[in-house]
Symmetry: C2
């Protein structure tokens, strides 16, 4: 496969170059809706997993080869389908497929919320995080419903955010995690800058028997309703606000560094 | 499978109960070395992936069933082998297999470094992070070599750290990421409390042809040597210190919340 340019219908060289990926797979309606809006403001290249990859976290493929296929839509080339994870798709796009680093990356639109602890498990967020690691201003966008989705408003909002991010400058190492409530545009109360909520999953492992009477477990459960703080992502979306959280990949808990020294950690050997 | 107690040879009820997991798989020498040391100070239960799961990040299995097998070592029950990821193993242990929440979790000993950006991709760290999410004081331990490993000193140090963590109290949401240089104990200069280093991977995708002349990519590359800061994990291990980093799963970049408001993010709609 040769290094490629971009796939937009507006190939002016001064365009904003936008890399789009996701975790629901290259044939997901949320990705189609996003691409349609972003083509209004830039040159879009799609590099996405070839199939659904939810909850894969920031997995990358090192022990197996990665293959890439051209994905067609309505008889025309639409994008590159990577037989790997969301982080694989972004890494491969930037390191091998694209001629130059894109100006911005948008991951999504995910079908389902990525608020609170779900940020940790999310493939959508990981694609955007991989973008941030590679020095690209990056945004993850999710529609907070598991029901039938209407991605149109979320896609429009993503377009507006891309313009804001292109005009300003995100700090190196920080990306935006955006969650949009699944309600008509006129019912949206506004946009809130939020923090990652504290709620975790109340996991339930459903213990079942297969036809051979062997036991297996199936994970289910719900996000706990732990967040009453008005600056939390989860609070915002349940109260009809779009949530925009700045998140980072430096995981250091700096205040606790001093605490560990008082424990005598540095006196161990 | 019934809910189970623990697998130690020291079943006193006042013992420290220690859950051990990893990402190299339940038959990994690094896990055996760790279990051997931790049995000196507590009752150990092993719940680990049935096979190698490196670089899976914080992936969890939701769309497929999970199976669990008893794993034997030297003809005796050793632990539970989960056909899933490190985070699956820990979630399933705490939510379904164990009668009560363990006092502490140790993940490792990983064969290979988990410093700097590798923290994001690491299955070893994700197992410990899942423990922290579930409210268990948790430690990830890695030996920073890809060569032939000697896990004995790292295992001893893990045991000492477990005692310190059991005596003190980690903040909710914070875990310890420990990296041990692969040198004889007498050459270790000491233990440093560190932050996550800034180095990222200089990824290279090796483009190859399969026997049918179809192209595929294989990921390789090295960690950039970006960290000269003496408080970074990567600096510590390359200078013969054990590195102990407190890391957290609240990814919010709090200072940037205010910055986004000045951009007018909350004026979008």
């Amino acid at each position: 496969m040769k290094k490629t340019g971009t796939t937009s219908n507006r190939p002016q060289s001064r365009d904003l170059s936008i890399l789009v990926s996701n975790d629901d797979g290259i044939d997901a309606p949320g990705l189609f809706a996003l691409v349609k809006e972003l083509k209004k403001i830039g040159t879009v290249t799609v590099v996405a997993p070839d199939k659904q990859q939810s909850a894969v976290g920031h997995a990358i493929t090192m022990n197996y080869p990665l293959r890439v296929k051209n994905f067609q839509k309505n008889g025309k080339f639409f994008g590159f389908a990577v037989e790997g994870t969301p982080a694989d798709a972004v890494k491969l796009a930037v390191r091998a497929l694209l001629k130059r680093k894109p100006d911005i990356l948008v991951s999504g639109i995910n079908h389902g919320a990525n608020t609170a602890i779900s940020v940790i498990y999310s493939g959508t967020v990981s694609a955007a995080r991989e973008g941030a690691i590679l020095g690209i201003p990056s945004i993850a966008v999710s529609l907070t419903t598991y029901g039938p989705p209407d991605f149109r408003y979320a896609a429009k909002l993503a377009r507006k955010l891309v313009k804001l991010v292109a005009k300003n400058q995100l700090p190196q190492g920080t990306l935006l995690n955006v969650n949009v409530p699944p309600i008509p545009e006129k019912e949206i109360r506004g946009v809130l800058v939020t923090s990652q909520g504290k709620a975790i999953w109340a996991d339930i492992y459903d213990a079942r028997r297969d036809p051979a009477n062997k036991e297996y477990f199936w994970l289910t459960g719900n996000l706990e309703e732990a967040d009453t703080s008005h600056d939390a992502d989860q609070w915002a979306v349940t109260h009809k606000y779009v949530s925009v959280s700045p998140i980072q990949y430096d995981l250091t808990d700096y205040p606790t560094m001093g605490v560990l020294k008082t424990w005598g950690v540095e006196k161990l050997k």
